[in-house]
Amino acid sequence: MDVLLLSRIQFAFTIAFHYIYPPLSIGLGVCLVIMEGLWLKTGNPLYHQLARFWTRIFALTFAMGVATGIVMEFEFGTNWATYSRFVGDVFGSALAAEGIFAFFLESGFLAILLFGWDKVGRRLHYFATWMVCLGAHFSAVWIVVANSWQQTPAGFRIEETPNGPRAVITDFWAMVFNPSSMDRLSHVLCGAWQAGAFLVISVSAFYLLRRRHEAFAKASMKVGLAVALVAAVLQLLTGHSSALGVMRNQPAKMAAFEGHYETGDMPVYAFGWVDEERQVVTGLRVPSPILRWMLGDQAHLQGLNEVAPADRPRVNTTFQLYHLMVGLGLMLLALALVGCVLCWRGRLFARRGLLWAMVFSVLGPQIANQAGWFAAEMGRQPWIVYGLLRTREGLSAVVKAEAVLTSLILFTLVYLLLLAVFLYILNDKITHGPDEADLTPGGKLAGHGRAEA
């Protein structure tokens, strides 16, 4: 196998593995802010128990995110050195901002969030929870800005250097607010909120089915459902806005998402299969009145046949990934909606079938997030920086295939081990359940709570 393929596999594998955890941290962070806020507001120790239990889960996902995240920063240099030389000037500011504004914030206040329950007052603790949650969001901001610049470069010029061409920043704010960054950021954050919320929903549903920790599970479920519903509804809007953005800025990518070969009004499929040889899509088309309402005057799109064959992404693969993401997103929205309505009417906790669906719903945002990112990144191919630098031109000049193969094998082994241990401990924590002792806050936290609640 060649260096290009191995390096792409390794990057895809390590980023996909890493991306299991940050969305969970971001989403759980939001849930923690709500739970602890409810505790401060009502003084009900049940909410304290909620916050404590979910903090323990948060700590685990956060640790995995930190451990696998540092790999990503190194890999830009180790495997994609030429790309790093090309983008360093532009990427640099975003990465520096991420380190200073996000990582320090998260990791600093995480100490108080995890270990400070009895050491600081509850207001300061709540502040720390907010800061960790904000820090997690900031890190998403900067990395999505950097990635969006790769999709829709802006605010730069190309400069020749002895080491080859590079992009040099001309307008910082144009780089930050490049055409796709805000759409993609909001889309990513909604996906992350869903990842956290559906984990909360899943575990709560599991307890309810087993008739364990029922008071805890019901309170937890309500928080999870509320976050899930808000995120899923917003996701519909950000997804739509992102899709329109892709049509404007990366027409070849959208054409691949929908298997659109001939320039004209773009069809939209609910699902389907692209025969790349014959350039036909077999599948269920969304009726054109709905389409006209959705796309308005943007429906006309350049087809793949106007893109040189060497510049086209893989069509059927991106088609499938994109539709998997959209389908799962809609299903999650339906589940959150039904769950909220039934919960509102007080009938959710008896619906065992629905609760079982909720137990498995935790996989929904995970698969949708992964599919969405794979579609976005594979749809960008063959470019590593859209229209400017090809993926194969971004490789490290001096790294040999054997070295990448070695590291890829090691990553596979180590990550599989880590995943197994992570799931084992997560399962253990869930089986163990919330701590009864957390119903009576101790240390500096005690004293303000109302005993009868």
Binding site: L95, G99, F104, L105, S107, A111, W117, N163, I425
Partner: protein, 344 residues
């Protein structure tokens, strides 16, 4: 924000990247040192106390490395690209070492089984040792110089990176972090564990001083370009003197039971070492050996002045905030470690 023309932004970023890596050595240095010492006690409670001594802070300390790497990428992309792709396998190993260190801290105390804890104890110790060693090896290669071709790419081999001087710096770094870590543990503990670690401190100091002496001799004998700058500008010698006085002060403070001052001395010694290293390298970031003309400097490897300026603004806004809450967190978690329900 525009900066005055006389301000050499490239030099500013040379200093700032140095500050970030020095901060990393000062802070994560004791975490890695604690890890390297972890297996020297067999008692589960001792090991837990040592883990919890770094528990609330190690993660924030590692951020100094992440941000240092980010700053290097941003300010000097050519150095970042050449070094990271050139040191491919050692850096991948460093990643695994850091991963095992991180997850071992998190996983170890989650299960009571003996075999479980033993596995993660070994992972924690091996990860910490290997990280310290590889960081030292990388420093050794930067000091010694690496082969660079005319395009600025690394032209050496993996085995070429493991020459004796680099390995010596690896061992010295392990010794330095072990000494730093043992002083930190003494500050954070009491009772029989503290008594035990006091016996380790003396050994780690001896271990470090031997390594330090050998490294200094080897540098003077075999790495003449590092000493040349000091010969040319004799005032730099004062930094070396500060470094030696700080090191000599450590056993003195320990002897008088002033552990915190010993820790400060150890920190000062590290700052002086890194300052000396930086001053001897300046304005080079990676020395090309044998062909010095291909060296990467703060000018030929840097981002545009505009980016350096933007980043300086970001750093000026962020740094006071980062320092403020870093200090607060160390303040909140001051004092001796007590195990409780939330502990590792």
């Amino acid at each position: 924000m525009t900066y005055p023309g006389w301000l050499d932004l490239n030099a500013v970023w040379f200093v700032l990247v140095g500050v970030l890596f020095t901060g990393y050595a000062l802070l994560d240095g004791f975490d890695l040192g604690v890890g390297a010492l972890h297996l020297f006690t067999r008692q589960d409670e001792h090991r837990r106390i040592m883990l919890n001594a770094i528990g609330p802070v190690w993660d924030g300390n590692e951020v100094w490395l992440v941000t240092g790497g980010g700053a290097l990428f941003a300010a000097f992309p050519n150095v970042y690209a050449t070094v990271f792709s050139g040191f491919y396998l050692p850096f991948i190993l460093l990643l695994f070492a850091l991963i095992f260190r991180a997850v071992a801290i998190e996983f170890r105390s989650k299960q009571p089984m003996r075999w479980w804890r033993q596995i993660w104890d070994v992972g924690f110790a091996a990860g910490s040792l290997l990280s310290s060693f590889l960081i030292g090896v990388a420093m050794g290669n930067i000091a010694w110089g690496v082969p660079i071709d005319e395009r600025g790419e690394f032209a050496g081999s993996f085995l070429g990176l493991l020459h004796p001087y680099a390995l010596l710096l690896g061992v010295t770094t392990v010794a330095l972090f072990m000494m730093h870590g043992s002083i930190y543990v003494v500050m954070k503990t009491d009772g029989d564990l503290q008594q035990l670690v006091r016996t380790w401190i003396n050994r780690t100091i001896i271990f470090f001083i031997i390594c330090y002496a050998v490294t200094t001799m080897a540098t003077l004998l075999y790495v003449p370009h590092m000493a040349a700058r000091v010969r040319a500008q004799p005032w730099l010698f004062s930094v070396a003197v500060v470094n030696m006085l700080a090191i000599a002060n450590i056993p003195r403070e320990i002897h008088h039971g002033r552990d915190f001052r010993a820790f400060l001395s150890s920190g000062l010694a590290m700052i002086a070492l890194m300052t000396l290293f930086g001053l001897e390298m300046f304005p080079h970031l990676v020395l090309s050996n044998p062909d010095a003309a291909h060296s990467l400097t703060i000018y030929n490897a840097a981002s545009s002045p505009k980016t350096l300026g933007i980043m300086l603004t970001i750093a000026l806004i962020g740094a006071p905030v980062v320092l403020a809450y870093t200090v607060s967190i160390y303040w909140i978690f001051r004092g001796k470690v007590k195990l409780d329900r939330m502990s590792y």
